[in-house]
């Protein structure tokens, strides 16, 4: 079905269709890495549209079910009577902004991530892991988080009864720091990390000082 419609597409749209098809064969999370390491609002934003209310309802319920947030608090962040603006960016990246302030974003049809500035205000909306002090500078350079940074003495992973599966959006706390240094998506489950102790544990999505951090108003 998808292929049939694809062949009818004009050439100029061919690439977009192909990218769309990729989401079905590949978990979308694996394609969103480092999306804000090189992001230029002037070049990478295609346009802005107000989101239809039926779609807004869908986004709202997706957020309520995936973040640890109650209706009242979400209402504070994004009042029902206010329309959110969809900022369409290159590579199927969508940023959603209210009065110009980026609140959350999504890659393809993957999970909704809060911006780090929003997360700092509401640090309970995602589960946390903690990286050791030695890993902070790598995270701030845009690197993904390797297992040792989380399993070492300075790191922290939730206990077995609160284990997090692969694919979960998480915040990076950092040893000796009060505020999260970034947000990522788990590549391995937390229990798995404790066993393998090597390789990429969490993909970095956004972090303090990246190009999304720099955008305070869109």
């Amino acid at each position: 079905m998808a292929d049939a419609s694809c062949s009818r597409e004009t050439k100029s749209r061919g690439r977009a269709i192909e990218a769309d098809r990729d989401t079905h064969t590949q978990p979308s999370s694996s394609r969103c890495f480092r999306m804000f390491k090189k992001f230029q609002p002037s070049a990478d934003i295609a346009g802005q549209t107000t989101v239809k209310s039926s779609i807004q309802r869908g986004i709202r319920s997706a957020i309520l079910s995936s973040w640890k947030i109650d209706v009242e608090t979400l209402e504070e962040i994004w009042p029902k009577k206010e329309s959110i603006v969809h900022v369409k960016c290159r590579d199927h990246l969508s940023i959603y902004a209210l009065h110009g302030e980026p609140l959350f974003f999504q890659h393809f049809d993957g999970p909704y991530f809060p911006t780090l500035r929003l997360f700092h205000k509401y640090p309970f909306i995602l589960p946390h892991v903690r990286v050791d002090r030695g890993a902070i500078r790598f995270l701030l350079a845009g690197a993904h988080m390797m297992c040792p940074g989380l399993t070492s003495a300075g790191g922290w992973l939730p206990p077995a009864d609160a284990a997090l599966p692969a694919g979960t959006p998480v915040a990076f706390d950092a040893e000796g720091k009060e505020f999260a240094v970034g947000i990522g998506i788990m590549k391995l489950g937390t229990e798995e990390m404790k066993v393998v102790k090597k390789g990429v544990a969490v993909e970095s999505i956004t972090y303090v000082g990246d190009d999304l951090w720099a955008i305070q108003k869109l």
Partner: protein, 212 residues
């Protein structure tokens, strides 16, 4: 900011659910990071200076001897030294870059040229504003509006952008740049020109060629 409507409706048996208030965040005025992460940026000395001047209490929280010792956590002394070395290097690099930009700016020139087209007909060309971070299109528009004349950005023979304004407005443009640099700037929309160094402006006159 509680919502009055729900407060009134709340009954004792069903306690009203309140939104959880946001954490009041405070970010560094120099590097924009939460201050505890300034040490990983490329402007630590400036960040510290700023914090000490603006928020001495927070400065103590992050940079007192006790705080410095506590933050080391489980990192080895070796790794910490390496980090400090890196930070110093990053800072030096950023400063060298800023310094080079400053020097370049000091060495750049703005040339305001009065060009005679026909007898008593002139155009004014302005070159080199971009070295001072001026948006040429905005500046051309500003000149055009100010003098109610034509103003545009064009490439000259050497392929370098310059602003061409109809009429002899060379002295007026000079005065505008002086005015934009005078004190606060931003007045009458001269903001665009505020970083141009007046001392680096050269006034030139191009006479009409005999054969024209």
């Amino acid at each position: 900011m509680a919502t009055p409507a729900t407060t009134a409706d709340a009954t004792p048996s069903q306690p009203e659910k309140q939104a959880i208030p946001p954490v009041q965040m405070f970010y560094c005025g120099v590097c924009t990071f939460p201050p505890e992460y300034c040490e990983f940026g490329d402007s630590l000395s400036k960040c510290k200076e700023w914090l000490q001047a603006q928020h001495p209490d927070l400065y103590d929280k992050y940079y007192s001897d006790v705080a410095l010792k506590a933050k080391l956590g489980t990192i080895s002394q070796e790794a910490q030294s390496k980090l400090e070395e890196d930070t110093a290097k990053k800072e030096a690099k950023a400063e060298a870059k800023a310094d080079a930009a400053r020097k370049k700016k000091l060495a750049s020139q703005v040339i305001i040229k009065r060009i005679e087209r026909n007898k008593r007909k002139y155009i004014t060309s302005v070159r080199g504003l971009e070295a001072f971070g001026v948006d040429l299109k905005k500046a051309a528009k500003l000149f055009a509006q100010r003098f109610a004349t034509g103003g545009s950005v064009t490439k000259n023979a050497a392929g370098i952008d310059e602003i061409v304004v109809q009429g002899d407005v060379s002295q007026e443009i000079y005065d505008m740049i002086v005015e934009a640099n005078d004190g606060k700037g931003g007045k009458k929309g001269l903001d665009v020109l505020k970083d141009v160094l007046v001392d680096n402006i050269e006034m030139v006159e191009e006479k009409r060629k005999k054969d024209e």
